[in-house]
């Protein structure tokens, strides 16, 4: 059967769909129309920013957009980006923040121990963490999860983190999780752009401006430690913590991943993370694993300890112990 190349449907000549138009001309009309429309749009909307500050903000935002991964920046570039971020916070949100770039102290490797006999489920740590790390109030992001378990067996499948009754409840015990800053972190391995890495002091950090938001790291974390900013995060002015670190609790934006950083802005200054400091029962022990005289080392040497999901060989730096 030969292919009929002629127009054999004479009765359709008049319909719009079959109207014979020169294709080239049609294309020209479309493009011309688009050009005219674009002109009209640009005439209606203001092209230039209104004020000097807005212009400065746009320039700073552009410079922030094209910057490198923090890990590969020189010290000068790091200083520059922090200056830009602080200035942007000032311009856009009328707030003064102090973003540190404090590097890891030499000879320090952070470790954390959690006493499950002492935890009473108060969630004072959760509250402190939210305030300290400028967590999104609208989404109610919480880095720390406190599980209530019945009986004596650690069984996360039967645990409940949504308890809201007087604590401690009879016959139950409590156990908290957060990012364990694993020594062999699966999240670091899977990030396609290298936006997350582990610092020399053991803290796994994220460069929020480099993250593309693919959430592969969230799938890879065995301890459900990572959170995603599904919408733009909100923090009320009165509750903002202006004492920030570039790799920690500085302003995040929507579409990027975040997680507990052992309060990097505090711990690199020798202070305890907010959760450890806030715990009323002293269930949280924090310190330098490389210091043989630290409390954390004492706990690891003298107490019966365990970690979650040991068989996965992620080597978390977060141990649980009992009295």
């Amino acid at each position: 059967m030969s292919l009929d190349l002629r127009n054999t449907h004479a009765e359709d000549e008049g319909t719009v769909l079959q109207k014979r138009v020169d294709r080239r001309r049609a294309l020209g009309i479309l493009l011309g129309g688009a050009a005219v429309g674009a002109q009209a749009l640009s005439a209606c909307s203001p092209v230039a920013p209104v004020s000097d500050e807005e212009r400065e903000a746009k320039l700073l935002q552009w410079q922030e957009y094209v910057k490198k991964n923090y890990r590969f920046m020189s010290d000068e570039e790091r200083v520059d980006t922090i200056a830009r971020l602080e200035r942007l916070a000032n311009i856009k949100h009328n707030v003064d923040v102090r973003i540190q770039a404090t590097p890891a102290q030499p000879g320090v490797m952070f470790g954390y121990a959690f006493n499950i006999s002492k935890c009473k489920g108060y969630r004072a740590c959760v509250e402190a963490c939210i305030n300290e790390n400028n967590l999104d109030r609208r989404a109610g992001t919480q880095y720390i999860r406190i599980f209530e378990m019945e009986g004596e067996e650690v069984n996360l499948d039967e645990a409940d983190a949504t308890f809201q009754h007087e604590v401690p409840a009879e016959g139950h015990f409590y156990m908290g999780t957060q990012c364990f800053q694993c020594a062999d972190p699966p999240c670091v391995k899977v990030c396609p752009v290298g936006a997350t890495w582990q610092e020399p002091d053991g803290i796994t950090v994220i460069d929020y401006d480099w993250c593309i938001g693919c959430r592969y790291c969230m799938a890879a974390c065995p301890y459900w430690a990572r959170r995603f900013n599904w919408a733009a995060p909100e923090v009320p002015a009165a509750e903002l913590n202006p004492n920030q670190h570039y790799l920690g609790n500085r302003a995040r934006k929507k579409g990027v991943v975040e997680k507990c950083t052992f309060c990097i802005h505090r711990t690199r200054q020798g202070r305890l993370p907010a959760c450890a400091e806030a715990c009323p029962t002293g269930a949280r022990v924090f310190g330098n694993l490389l210091d043989p005289n630290s409390e954390i080392r004492w706990v690891l040497e003298h107490k019966r300890i365990f970690r979650l999901k040991e068989d996965l060989k992620t080597e978390p730096r977060f141990w649980y112990f009992t009295d």
Binding site: R123, P242, G270, G282
Partner: protein
Amino acid sequence: MSRATIASTLGIVCALVSCNADQSDEVRALPAAHEADSTALAIDTMAVGRPGGARAPDTTDHIQPGQLRTVATAPVMNWTGPGGKPFEVQIRTEDPATANARRFGTITLRNSARRRSPDLGQYPCTSCHLGRGMVLRDARIKDAHQNIKPDHPAQTGATCATCHAADNVELLALRNGERATLDHAYRVCAQCHFSQAESWAGGAHGKRLDGWQGRRVVMGCADCHDPHKPAIESRTPFRAPQLKRPPYRRP
């Protein structure tokens, strides 16, 4: 342009230096309640400006560790910390009432001497007692601490005389005949609760103050456990997490 760079660099350096100065013992007040509205604005990055754009004080920190910042400590006797190092027990903070009430809630001792000297509620003892004995200066003084009913717990048969020296209201009595000042009350607790005391000395029990680095100062036993009523009462926890994310509402 270069001036701006220098200025911002200096600003960073100053900020870093002042961060290190954070550990000074200056008193920090709780932030004043904001009379202006604190409605959050939804924008691409977070943080909304303070009304008026006032600069936050340099060392503002929402956890106010300054409230727990130790003003006076005593070296711990007869115990060494991890690594055989000596350590100190806190005997005074800046604002114990606020700190403890805010930080420790029901664990805080409520109705009796909550801190050791000189922050004890009813210290010095000689303000009511004539000398070191039980005789009072003024017989009209009532209900100073007769309301304390030792409940340590009741089964142990602990009475006032178990811990307090009968002949000296300012001292505590140890079983071996020694006396301990109120600053070293942990020695009394350690007599029976020796395993907890050992953990406490090592760092697995109790609470460390200040930071993880530097000199180790810990809270004493009585800072958390009321010796007269050590049972810790239950309390309402901070709000539970929402498992199911509510549907997005455009603000």
